[in-house]
């Protein structure tokens, strides 16, 4: 087989794996958009905040240590203990539920009935708020996240492909774990929304707010629930991203790529988010591989957005989105 083709295949595989990570972030967007019609720009920041909280709790950091030290002139930074990973994940999950509750109570409650675009801007405000709040709470250095996931090159794939083609593919173990976790997460979400009472209520709200209200479903509870679930999804995405590249605030900008993923897949479709993520992941890797060297590289910065833009011109509702009907 020609070498270029082999390289392209390897790039495609790695693109698929990167796409899984985009899809994980996009999933959080879709959940919130379906249930409340809010386009949550801050989802990427939730991912960073969740991951930071996890690392902070795990390594026993004192929250706001920097601020406390500045005000009171103390020199504290760590409690001096480390928390087991499982416990830390639970604490971080609880923190995300708390965040969901705060967002619902202090922001969304007061914005009911406002135009969608106002809510969208409010989430940009939340993005900015957390951009300052997260480093204030946990410090601004790059944090190393280690929850004991397998990392490094997958030897089995390397040797197998070497046996087949005479060229070993480089696939990170972590990417494989991420793909499995994503599959499990989506299955769990589907099961939850199909077979539990809350899940059904959630789908009812997504379908029609007022009809759901009239049969006695508490909108406030559903919103807290859905933001909490989005928080959990953010936590999972944060663990994956963080294990791969360390936790820092600039991760949120990478997570913005979930937006073109959504546009491609349609805002209201969970399968759309997954498939959109895979398309973007593969597309940008292949583009960088084929065209990148000709134009100076680093095309990942914009390829996803331009692809989504071009795609939307032909199909404004995305791949799986509901048809947009406009009436006067």
């Amino acid at each position: 087989m020609p070498e270029q083709l082999l390289f392209a295949m390897e790039v495609t595989l790695n693109g698929l794996m990167a796409g899984v990570l985009y899809a994980l972030v996009a999933l959080g967007f879709v959940l919130i958009f379906k249930a409340s019609g809010i386009f949550n720009f801050a989802q990427g920041m939730l991912v960073v905040f969740a991951a930071m909280t996890l690392v902070g709790v795990q390594t026993g950091q004192i929250p706001f240590a920097h601020l406390i030290n500045t005000i009171f002139g103390t020199k504290i930074h760590h409690f001096g203990w480390t928390v087991p990973t499982i416990l830390a994940i639970i604490v971080a999950g609880a923190a995300m539920v708390f965040v969901a509750w705060v967002i619902e109570k202090y922001i969304l409650q007061h914005l009911i009935g406002q135009p969608d675009i106002i809510l969208f801007m409010a989430t940009i405000g939340m993005w900015y708020f957390m951009h300052g709040f997260a480093p204030l709470m946990w410090g601004s250095e790059v944090m190393k996240l280690d929850v004991g996931l397998a990392q490094g090159i997958n030897e089995t794939i390397d040797t197998t492909t070497y046996g087949w083609f005479g060229y070993g593919f480089f696939i990170d173990n972590l990417d494989i774990v991420a793909a499995i976790v994503a599959a499990l997460l989506v299955t769990a979400l589907v099961l939850f929304s199909q077979y539990t009472k809350q899940g059904r209520a959630l789908r009812a709200v997504a379908d029609d707010h007022s009809a759901a209200l009239s049969v006695g479903i508490s909108l406030r509870f559903i919103w807290v629930l859905v933001w909490s679930i989005a928080g959990f999804v953010a936590l999972v995405a944060g663990i994956m991203w963080g294990s791969k590249s360390g936790v820092q605030i600039s991760l949120a900008e990478v997570a913005l790529k979930a937006l073109p993923v959504l546009m491609l897949g349609g805002f209201t479709s969970i399968p759309g988010a997954i498939i959109g993520g895979l398309i973007i992941g593969v597309g940008e890797q292949l583009f960088e591989f084929a065209i990148g060297p000709l134009v100076g590289g680093a095309t990942q910065a914009w390829f996803a957005y331009v692809l989504a833009l071009v795609f939307l011109i032909f199909r404004p509702q995305g791949l799986f989105g509901e048809k947009i009907i406009e009436r006067v």
């Binding site: 106002i118 409010a122 405000g125 939340m126 900015y128 708020f129």
Partner: protein
């Protein structure tokens, strides 16, 4: 008591439709212009110009531009930083290529080039609406910044990848480069700002502006009553990008003097200008000024208070700034979605009745 229409007789349609219908407002406007042009330039020093006046004027131009697009025509854009970069790099290329031509023309042509780019990226707005469009404009932001970072022609193959403004003069006065006097910087920004604001005000109260507002309020309905959505949306993108391009050119040439696309025109810049428009008030000329003033002054005050007075590290001050700005955005959207401009309007309504409210 003084703030009344009473006694101010309007005898023509022209008088009736003027921007400031109340005598006190008119006087205030002329006094503000007089102070800005004839008093402040004699007293400003480098600190005041560099940390307050120049950024305020330039961001006010950018905010006016974005307000036309988002506030008047209803098209949310997150690509302001990218369009400012177009203005900056176009201005740089023109300044280097045609040194004999006056910089004022360079800035205006840079605005024109930005307008063309803006229209190109605005074309999808005919099919894509709402959030979809907001995300689509991110494509402009990331693509343009990447372009100016990667294609060496734009920064004339300089080793650092930066662009540096060469020294240029207007009527014999140096306005760009490191030897610029504070007042010269101040004046050139002010002249552009007043020009842009005048054009913006008169566009938005005429037919063009009404078409934009029709499109904003409901595009299909506007189309039915005879507004051509292609022309309305494209003109909004063109005018908006023209202003934003001017702001970008001034930001680079006059204010910074040296710029690098990713650092000076990143996505944070887009957010910053959007926040100015939201806090100031969507669909208001005065709001663009108020929002820009607020977002320029607030960090300066915060920094002076925390770092200067209390001796806190700059890092914490920067983080607190994010928190305060984000919090304010949310609070404004909850309490007063129409921003500072609406507060100003309410104050004026109250003043009209004061001191006898009944």
């Amino acid at each position: 008591m003084f703030y009344r229409e009473a006694g101010d007789f309007k005898t023509s349609y022209r008088d009736d439709n003027q921007t400031f219908p109340i005598r006190l407002d008119r006087a205030g406007y002329w006094i503000a212009l007089f102070v800005a042009f004839c008093v402040i330039p004699f007293f400003v020093n480098d600190y005041w110009v560099n940390s307050i006046f120049a950024p305020f004027f330039i961001y006010a131009i950018a905010a006016l531009g974005l307000n036309i697009l988002t506030g008047y025509a209803g098209q949310v854009s997150l690509g302001t930083g990218g369009f400012m970069a177009v203005g900056a790099y176009a201005c740089y290329k023109l300044m280097v290529a045609f040194p004999e031509i006056n910089i004022v023309f360079h800035v205006l042509i840079a605005g024109g080039i930005t307008a063309a780019v803006g229209v190109a990226f605005g074309l999808p707005s005919l099919r894509i609406k709402g959030f979809y469009l907001a995300v689509a404009t991110l494509a402009a932001q990331f693509f343009l910044v990447w372009l100016f970072n990667k294609v060496a022609w734009f920064y004339n193959y300089s080793a650092s990848g930066q662009i540096n403004a060469p020294e240029r003069t207007v009527f014999g006065v140096i306005v760009t480069g490191p030897n610029t006097e504070a007042w010269a910087k101040y004046m050139i920004c002010l002249v552009f700002l007043v020009g842009v604001a005048w054009v913006a005000r008169n566009l938005t109260r005429g037919m063009t502006g009404r078409k934009w507002m029709g499109i904003r309020d409901m595009d299909i309905a506007a189309e039915i009553i005879g507004v051509n959505p292609l022309m309305a949306k494209m003109s909004a993108f063109a005018v908006s990008s023209f202003f934003v391009g001017i702001a970008g050119a001034l930001f680079f040439a006059v204010y910074l003097g040296a710029a690098e696309a990713g650092e000076s025109f990143g996505i944070t810049k887009s957010f910053l200008v959007l926040f100015m428009v939201i806090i100031g008030g969507l669909g208001s000329i005065f709001g663009s000024f108020a929002g820009a003033a607020f977002m320029v002054l607030m960090p300066v005050l915060l920094k002076n208070l925390l770092v200067g007075t209390m001796g806190w590290p700059t890092e914490i001050a920067a983080e607190l700034e994010f928190i305060i700005v984000g919090g304010l955005i949310v609070i404004f959207l909850i309490l007063e979605p129409h921003g500072l401009a609406q507060l100003w309007r309410l104050t004026k309504e109250k003043l009209r009745l004061w001191p006898f409210p009944h």
